[in-house]
Every structure is written in structure tokens, then in C-alpha cells.
Symmetry: C2
Amino acid sequence: MSSFDFEEQRIKQEITRSDAKRVLLQMPQGLKPQATRIAKIVEDYGAVPIISSDPCYGACDIAETDAASLGVDLIVHFGHARIIKEEKTPTLYVEAYANIQIETAVTQALPLLAAYRNIGLATSIQHLKTIDIAKQILTEAGKVVFIGNMGQMDYAGQVIGCNYSNATAINRQVDAFLFVGGGMFHAIGIALGTSKPTIVADPYDNRAYSITNEALRIIKQRYAGIQEAQNAKSVGILVGLKPGQKHFDQALKVKKLAEMTGRAAYLLAGREITPDALMEFPNIDAYVNTACPRISLDAPAKFQKPILTVNEFMVVCGEVSWLDMLKKGLFEN
Amino acid sequence: MSSFDFEEQRIKQEITRSDAKRVLLQMPQGLKPQATRIAKIVEDYGAVPIISSDPCYGACDIAETDAASLGVDLIVHFGHARIIKEEKTPTLYVEAYANIQIETAVTQALPLLAAYRNIGLATSIQHLKTIDIAKQILTEAGKVVFIGNMGQMDYAGQVIGCNYSNATAINRQVDAFLFVGGGMFHAIGIALGTSKPTIVADPYDNRAYSITNEALRIIKQRYAGIQEAQNAKSVGILVGLKPGQKHFDQALKVKKLAEMTGRAAYLLAGREITPDALMEFPNIDAYVNTACPRISLDAPAKFQKPILTVNEFMVVCGEVSWLDMLKKGLFEN
């Protein structure tokens, strides 16, 4: 059995309700091993299942052009809550809540939170149903718990790779953050967005740890990237082609700013922005990324040239100071 | 100066003629270093240039959905001749003929062709303008030269990664093939499609060599892949999402055949079919590829599971014998 809830009954109901004949299944990498099992369920219910094999990192990346091209009448998108306002193809979101206990990991986090009284609590969509359990453990340990809700996400306390508004919303009230979930990715986003001590309670490993040092390391890397980009004579402005990552007007503004500050500027549109893809442009000295802001943020060493967020490029152009940008956030609008 | 003709004048004329406001430039990897130079030319002519940064391997992969999404009114596609019958966005093909002498390489090929009298001549689009020079050198050396034209390509003697009909058309008349162009990719396609000795005259390295042994090595690998796939309990059928690589009806037929021979079968749709993307499906034992037939053919070791062409899967299912399939071709229809 999978440790995530694939909500097979809800999928069946939606196929029946919508009378879907062709269903596209789209999942992030961690869930894909279950794709064949879900495909069989869809098929048993009378629809033709097609599994999307391309990488998928978020609900910004609904495969709607692929669905249109394949004559699909229902997309089932797993692992992310909806962020696009209107999809071209009817889309069912299966958030894939984790069937996993968080108590041990959260309890392990308590010693790391000993110095702090007011705790901001945040989590990824997979663990939202257990956020009250985490809150209770913290409260019983004498903490005052804050769960932010800026209204940009579907759920209070929810964070996604590119949006930490539910953490920044409560930043002034809290001394530290606790993120409940697997891996460092989201917790780093909280630490970068809030500059507060941030602890991870990882229920998959049943352990807790601080990512504050990791966040500091990244901030140093970002500063070095900005310094390097100061000397860039030509700038590539990355335009995302995934439906929720396309900010063409912003890219045009960045291009204008680059040119006003004496740089040659080129628009580059791509679906997957990879080190290999960018290696093909030896004349470009630095990139500004208007697509997914997390690209290159966690692993800039994989890329040969600096890839800045739009906010970071404002520092390069002297529009804002490094410290003011840090306060605003490396990639928040 | 680049060693390829980017036909800047023709691009300018097309922008003026079509009054294009936004132009998408799409190039294969070898040409992309020139993209910024061409972008400047487009911009000087009053249109907004956007460079596609995604990989591009052929004219099967016209970026028409990207163009629509970006509001582009002209695609300039470099390095390949047209193969799609009707594009959704007006598309100018700049074949990128090579500005390079072929005489030395072709002369170097003569000793390797000493044992053969009737020579089939083939080349990639980049060198088509010099095919008469190659023919003359061969003729003066006492050879009888054949240049095939099955009418599937724009030009006689032209081959592309997935279509060697201009070689197979003359296969009965010739003792060996000479391919003029860089790299082994096209020449291997000729050798696999014709089973004739095949010599490369590479004008970039000014040298000639036989790829017959390489083709034999690949055929052995393909046979091993077919043997391994015989034991597959579940099969993934790859559906290409690039406009010229989508053969959904064929994929449905392959699925039916797989199921009739007792296998579980799953449709997987993807844009880029990579080892990483396919690693996500541990329950699938072998793949059948209805997208670009060259994927995995030259480097199967990069993939953990066999990826068969449709023709190879017919051997697995007992629909055709290995030898008859080899005669028909590993991937020709």
C-alpha cells in the first residue's frame, strides 16, 4: 500500500460524473511509481488512461496543452493543490495526503525549539490534515502557535515551492518556524522568506533538524551570484512555458531594465530550464529567471552562469539594495 | 563567422513580408550559439525575438504550441527541412547549409570504397548543395553513383534521423553507401536500414571511416533487447507529444497487441523521453516507442529497460521473425 492517499473513489466518481473517455494522469516524481496501478483503476472504469511521463514539479505545470493534443477530457493531477484559476481541460486535483504519523518527528523538534516561545507552523499539502496534531504537541509543550493564512493558498499553514505567504504573514509574531514535511526544499523557502530560525520535522525519517545554516549558505551563494552578474554584458531572460510559470510581460520589463543599464538582453523561452539547455548560449553572461523561482536557487553550482531571480536582478541594476531585497524576499513579489 | 548559412536576408524579407511582430527562433543544439546574433538581427528589423531554449532534434518538433502560448506570429526553424504538412503558426525553414568544403573528406573515402563499384550517395540537409561535387569525385574515380529519391524528402539523396527512404530506394542497385556529413548518427541509420557497408565522409574532421562495425554492434544490442523484452509482464507504450512524433492510434494498436499476448500495457505520453523520466516506473518491464524511433537506438545502455521500436515489438509478439524485421528495417514503416 502506498503511504499517500490516491483517493481512488473520488477518481472513479469524477470519471462517471464527467463521462470522461480519455484521462491523463499527471504526478510528481515521488508518486509516479503508483501510476500504473491508478491507470488500471481508470481503465476498469471504462476510460482510456494515459500517464504523463514528463517531469512535474507543481500545480503551475498542468499538462493542458498535452491534454488538448491527446484529445483528453479529464486530467487527474496528483500531489499538488490547485493554483491555476481556470484550466483549459477539466482537472481533478488529488492532493495525495500522506498516511503517515507525524507525532514522533514533531516531538523530536521540541528540543530544537527550546529557546523560542512563539512558533510559526507550516506544512506542505501532504501533511495539512495533521497540522492540528502538530499544533497540539507544540501547545502542550508550552508554545504559542501561529498558523498563517494570507488567502493565496487553499489552506491555512500551507506553503508551496514558490509561495510562502502563509509564513511571511505571521513572521512578526513568531520567534521561529516549524515545517512539518519531508526534505529541505520547502523549509529552505521559509527560512529564505522569513530570515527566522527554521526547524524541519520530517515524518518520513522520524527526525527533526535545523535548516538555518543551509539557508545562510544559500544566501551567501546568492550574493556571490549577484556580484558575478554585475559584470554581465549580456543577459538572458528566461520565460517559462508551463502554464503557471509564464510571465511574459514581466520578462519584457526585465529586458527593458537590462538594456537601460547598458546590457544586451535576450528573451529565452523554455519548458525545462536545465544546465544542459543553458550551456548552448556561450555569449550570455548571466540569466534572469521569470519562470519557476526555485530553479537554480538550491543548486546553483549545477549551472555555469548565475541565474538570478527578478528581485536579485533589481539589486544588480541598483534599483534596490541587497539588504532591502533580502527583507522583501529573494523571489516573493 | 559561422560555418553555416543562416540566410539572414531571407529572414529579414519574411519578417517584412509577413509583418511579424513576435518571432520565435528554434535551433538544434549545434546552432544555438548563433541564436543571440540572429535575435539581434530580428530585433533590428522591428520584431521581438524569442529564442527557444528547449532541446530540438528535428523538424518533427516545431514549437507550435509554444508559439501559440507566446503570441508568436512567425517561427524561424533552423537546421532541418520541413516535414510537417501544415504548421499552426507560419514557419520559415532555414536549412543551415554548411559553408564547408567536402572534397578532402570524400577523397579520403575512396580507398574505403575500393572494393565496391556501385555507390549509393546520401547526405544530411546541411550538405545537399555539395552532393554534385561528391558525385563527381566518385565518378572520376570510376564509380557508378546512385542518388535515391522516394519523394518523401524535399531533396534527392537527403536522409533524416527517422527516414532513410532515399537510401533504401536504391539499396538493390548499390554495393555500398557513402554518407557525406558530420557524426555517425545518420550513417548508422543508413547501415541499419540497408544492411550495406556504409562509409562516412566527414567534412568537419576531413576524414572518412566505416561505420559498419558500429551498426553490427547496435544490431546485436537490439537483439539482446528483444530477448529481454520477451519476458516482460508489463509494457509501457511511449506516445510522443512533439507534433511530428505523435502516433496515438499506433500506440493504441500496440497496446491491444501487447494485451492479446498476455501482457499488461500502459500508455505513457511524454515530450522528452529520458532515462530519468522512465526510471519512475519500476513496474514496467519494457517499453515500446511510437515517438522518435531513434530514442535509445544508439545508446540503449543509458536506459535501464529495453526500449523497442514498434517493428521490434512485432518480433517479441511473434508477428514477424527477427530476420524479416531486419530486412524491413528496425524502424521504417
